[in-house]
């Protein structure tokens, strides 16, 4: 009988007090002695050569400490593709790209200085649509693409705008289409959107004259920041220390490297004074990274009995000016392209295309919300073409354990179950129940969509954890993974307390991440944290116990196998004289005569992703997935055909999460993700003018969900088929909750109105237009 039970319980977040009272520190809260403030001069053009920069007037301004232009910082950065300039060097690539940076004693002075700088540009032809950018003779966003360094699994096409072309070939798609009774082909489109974190990108950098670089930053990936900075600047890693306090929302947009090189380089020019940059909300939209735009063409061949025999997919990503994570999003979406279904013959081309838009980066779901909109709409459209119920059609093709994915992976027996997710969602939303279609003059409908995703990461990524036993018997856990609202530290504290059988109040998880001290982790991305940090933490607990037992065995004179660590003690069960508080072993064991033995107790745990391989460059075949998390979303909507308003009445969701470690935090993740998905489904979009300038770079005109826009009802049903190699059986779900919200709503809109939508956001005006067009067609028929 366990005395302490935390796993599976809704224990309060361990950071709740700090966050609710405002004592939690974020990067922008930090004030360092001598700190300077940065303002940026940004490009007004989408594509232009920089002819001349005149900073002479700005330099005269009292309080200006450093002015930096691209010419002085000829570095290129990038996680998968080394293409990103800190400040535009010879030309600007998008409206809002930083051209000159000023560090000054105050923000006011920096801003005045920026206004005094004159830049002369020569405009170049620009390209804004990824389809146009792929055409012969299109303006090139990066003329030197063939010289750029890139990861081995990225395939750029020199002298074009193609930053990566991922190919997937399974079976024989031509033969498959010949076997098909019905072929359905459709196109889908989504604009660029933004992550809209509450905290905008914030970095403080310091490059001391002795070569030491210190960074405080709002980053999801402190170790990646350190690594990429080291590679880009040619500075050894041990000279770089990256500190990340609490993060005010990441959603992928703070993964990798962003503005850290800029503040560090400004600091170097300012003689080593710390330099701070806080992006304004407008800059968050225009200048920092966004989610890529997306175009898809999907062609599906199906037998009359509902079996899909072939699918050909083309995904074209509007990466904007720099490739950043975009090239790997392209790859991840490419290898997951079928969605959670087994299809014998698949051909997918997923292509990252440079344009003169703001640059794309990771965004919660890493390409999966985008392509699932296409594939899960397509599932409904194909089912309709053969007259089959869309639920039955999905179940018939479901990727169940033992079935083969598009990359040739045979799904493990303990893989999750998409069919169970679909079935419970269908049940809870009352699928097929006879209900009035019209309520108060408005049309009601229901839609479902399934989903899957695996962490998108290199095959060998790893995590580690350090668990220290303190002098009073409490323990302190250090991890490299960031707390950005998702609650991983709380879940890990639950695991530690459960494993050590001690009160959770005596477990501390260090809040700050600091690369000089924190154990390594690859990044806080990809819904991998609980799985990977969890495995590393469990390993750390094992090591800590092992060390305790080794010392105690000497002290008690018993074999260490007889010893148990629990309830803040180490003891031999049933022998009260062979028992000792852990506190007495924290720094060393002590024999009765005073001699010391052992030493400070510290468990170092690690975990490396298992069983992943590279994918074949020509066919995409291989093992990309640490785990697949499956799920399904159901939406019930009400459509006002007079105004085009779509109201989401109810969302029903199920994910096979393996095990719910903290049901309360889990619910928060689910609801939050769905709300974010509804924003993208119904209102969020970048609107540009014909010159590539963003017209809605603020929260007045870039709409996100507010309280009035969220559904009346959420139903979440956890499915718990444990994954054997996971801590307590868990699978990641941070991103999945936000996938397939859009297609579920679009499918429900069809159910309500009989109108098919292929483009998001499905805002009031767009839905009104679509309904009106349909009305006109019906009238003229």
């Amino acid at each position: 009988m366990k005395k302490y039970s935390y796993v599976g319980k809704g224990v309060p977040r361990i950071d709740a007090f700090e966050k609710v009272t405002g004592t939690a520190q974020y990067t922008a809260d930090l004030r360092l002695p001598g700190m300077l403030y940065t303002k940026l001069l940004k490009s007004p053009h989408a594509h232009a050569r920089i002819i001349r920069i005149d900073t002479s007037e700005a330099e005269k301004l009292l309080g200006v400490r450093a002015i930096l232009t691209g010419k002085e910082v000829p570095y290129k950065f990038g996680i998968y593709m080394q293409d990103k300039e800190t400040l535009a060097q010879k030309k600007v690539h998008h409206v809002g790209e930083p051209v000159v940076a000023v560090a000054a004693d105050t923000e006011e002075i920096a801003e005045q200085a920026v206004e005094l700088i004159k830049v002369e540009y020569e405009e170049l032809p620009a390209v804004f649509d990824q389809r146009d950018a792929m055409k012969e003779g299109a303006p090139l966003v990066h003329e030197r693409l063939h010289e750029y360094k890139h990861a081995p699994f990225i395939f750029p096409k020199p002298h074009t705008n193609i930053a990566n072309h991922f190919k997937l070939r399974k079976g024989d798609v031509e033969r498959g289409f010949k076997e098909a009774d019905v072929i359905v082909e459709n196109e889908f489109y989504q604009p660029q959107v933004q992550n809209v974190q509450m905290e905008t990108h914030t970095s403080i950098g310091q490059w001391l004259p002795n070569g030491q670089i210190n960074i405080w930053t709002s980053a999801q990936s402190p170790f990646a920041v350190r690594h990429l900075l080291s590679v880009g600047l040619g500075v050894p890693i041990h000279k770089i220390n990256v500190v990340v306090p609490y993060l005010g929302g990441g959603f992928g947009g703070k993964a990798g490297l962003h503005w850290e090189p800029l503040v560090v380089l400004l600091s170097r020019k300012a003689g080593g004074r710390p330099v701070r940059l806080v992006m304004t909300r407008e800059e968050q939209f225009n200048t920092t990274a966004v989610r890529q735009g997306f175009y898809a063409r999907v062609k599906t061949g199906v037998k009359r009995d509902g079996k899909i025999v072939a699918e050909e997919l083309l995904f074209l990503w509007d990466a904007g000016a720099y490739a950043d994570y975009g090239v790997n999003i392209t790859r991840a979406a490419g290898y997951s392209c079928t969605g959670p279904y087994e299809i014998p013959n698949v051909k997918c081309d997923s292509i990252t295309v440079y344009t003169n838009h703001p640059y794309g980066t990771a965004y919660r779901g890493f390409g999966h919300p985008e392509f699932h909109f296409a594939t899960e709409r397509q599932m409904d459209l194909v089912a309709r073409a053969i007259g089959m119920d869309p639920v039955e059609f999905r179940l018939k093709n479901a990727a169940l354990p033992g079935r083969i994915t598009a990359t040739g992976e045979k799904l493990r027996e303990d893989a999750g179950r998409v069919d169970e997710c679909i079935k419970v969602v269908v049940e809870a939303i009352g699928w097929g129940k006879k209900e009035p279609k019209q309520v108060g003059g408005k049309l009601r409908g229901k839609g479902i969509a399934a989903l899957w995703k695996a962490p998108a990461m290199p095959s060998y990524t790893s995590s580690s954890a350090i668990l220290k036993l303190n002098e009073d018997g409490t323990v302190t856990l250090s991890i490299g993974s960031i707390e950005m609202g998702q609650g991983t530290p709380t879940a890990l504290a639950q695991m530690v307390a459960e494993e050590l059988q001690m009160p959770i109040e005596k477990v501390k998880v260090v809040t700050k991440r600091e690369t000089d001290f924190s154990p390594y982790t690859w990044q806080t991305v990809a819904s991998r944290g609980l799985f990977m940090e969890g495995n590393a933490t469990l390993d750390a607990v094992r090591k800590l116990k092992e060390q305790v037992r080794e010392t105690a065995a000497e002290l008690f004179g018993v074999p260490k196998e007889e010893l148990v660590v629990a309830e803040e003690k180490v003891f031999v069960p049933g022998k009260p004289d062979k028992s000792m508080p852990l506190a007495k072993l924290a720094t060393a064991g002590i024999f009765p005569d005073g001699r010391g033995i052992g030493g400070p107790v510290l468990g170092y745990g690690m975990y490396t992703a298992e069983g992943l391989t590279n994918l074949d460059p020509e066919t995409g075949q291989g093992l990309p997935a640490l785990m697949w998390t499956f799920g399904a979303q159901g939406a019930e909507v009400e459509v006002d055909s007079e105004t085009g308003e779509v109201r989401v009445l109810k969302m029903v969701s199920a994910f096979d999460i393996g095990k719910s470690i903290n049901p309360v935090l889990l619910k928060g993740q689910v609801y939050g993700g769905i709300v974010q998905g509804i924003g993208s489904a119904l209102m969020e979009e970048f609107i540009f003018n014909e010159k590539g300038a963003l017209l809605n770079n603020n929260l007045t005109d870039y709409k996100i969900c507010r309280a009035q826009d969220i559904p009346d009802e959420f139903v979440f049903i956890p499915i718990e088929n444990p994954q054997r190699n996971a801590p307590y059986g868990v699978r990641g779900v941070g991103e999945h909750v936000r996938i397939s919200v859009e297609p579920a709503i679009a499918n429900a809109i069809y159910d309500a109105t009989g109108v098919d939508l292929f483009e998001i956001p499905m805002n009031r005006e767009r839905v009104w237009r679509a309904l009106k067009q349909r009305g006109e067609k019906v009238a003229s028929a």
Partner: protein, 286 residues
């Protein structure tokens, strides 16, 4: 993001305010709630040398009502104060409702009604209600005082009838005719806080002669009243037919633009939809 440098002045009386404006008018901006001013200053769209805060003037905090004069809303009265007023809620329903749709509670705690009309946005939420309620604007300067109907106050996008050196002391709203019914409907891009894609206020009364007034925002360079609507209801025919006719007149008389918030076609359509909805409500037609 820092604001451009300015001198902050805080007069204590309207006389002092008038004198300050007379001296600095060309270089000064009046500051009440600041919810419009601070935004344009931050964006460097205006760089006033002087920012004159009117919130220290007790007289401008007046929010009063009496049987004869109706409602007086001083220039420093916030929308939250207006919404909290029982008499506004009971007697000036369209205005009360319009005030409650403007932005969100945090903004309404600062923003003033007079500021909303002086900003003269085509989308001003309180303007259509003031138009159908026949409100008057009391304008003061060092040279004296004048009162003009709200209809004559809006002169263009972000332009008003105020001359240099003048300020609005208060908006006066006469009591609506006996038995009047009024309402305001706003259509945005979302259910959450938004600027109006179209806003429509309506008022009907039947005391002696039949009154029907419709005014709109976001469909022309200024908020506007459509007086032609009234004629429709003087003639015969079914109420439904009259309402349809009124809506088509509204759509004819407005001139919305296409912008980042909505297309012209959608605005025209929604102006018709909202006009019908509001007339049905206030005429009691099903």
């Amino acid at each position: 993001m820092p604001l451009p440098k300015f001198d902050y002045l805080r007069p204590q009386t309207t006389e002092e305010l008038a004198a300050t404006l007379a001296e600095h008018g060309a270089d000064a901006k009046l500051f009440a709630g600041g919810t419009d001013l601070i935004v344009v200053m931050r964006d460097k769209l205006v760089r006033p040398k002087y920012v004159i805060d009117i919130k220290g003037i007790e007289e401008l905090r007046e929010l009063s009502w009496d049987e004869r004069r109706g409602l007086t809303i001083g220039a420093a009265v916030t929308l939250s104060e207006l919404i909290a007023s029982e008499v506004v809620r009971e007697r000036f329903g369209a205005l009360w409702k319009a005030a409650g749709t403007l932005a969100d509670p945090t903004i309404r705690n600062r923003a003033t009604l007079v500021g909303n009309i002086c900003n003269a946005s085509p989308a001003a939420d309180t303007a259509p209600a003031l138009l159908v309620l026949w409100a008057e604007v009391e304008i003061v300067s060092a040279n004296g005082k004048r009162v003009i109907p709200i209809r004559e106050f809006f002169k263009g996008v972000k332009r008003t009838a105020l001359e240099q050196g003048e300020f609005v002391r208060a908006v006066r709203v006469p009591n609506p005719p006996e038995g009047a019914k009024e309402d305001y409907l706003k259509w945005g891009r979302t259910r959450g806080e938004d600027l109006a894609v179209v806003g429509v206020a309506g008022l009907v009364a039947n005391s002696g002669k039949k009154l029907v007034r419709i005014a709109l925002s976001s469909v022309a360079p200024t908020p506007l009243i459509v007086p032609e609507v009234e004629g429709v209801f003087k003639g015969g025919g079914s109420v439904e037919g009259q309402i349809d006719k009124a809506a088509s007149i509204v759509v004819e008389k407005i001139s919305p633009i296409s912008d980042v918030r909505a297309g012209k076609e959608y605005r025209l359509h929604m102006a018709g939809v909202l006009t019908k909805q509001i007339l049905k409500r206030i005429l009691g037609a099903s």
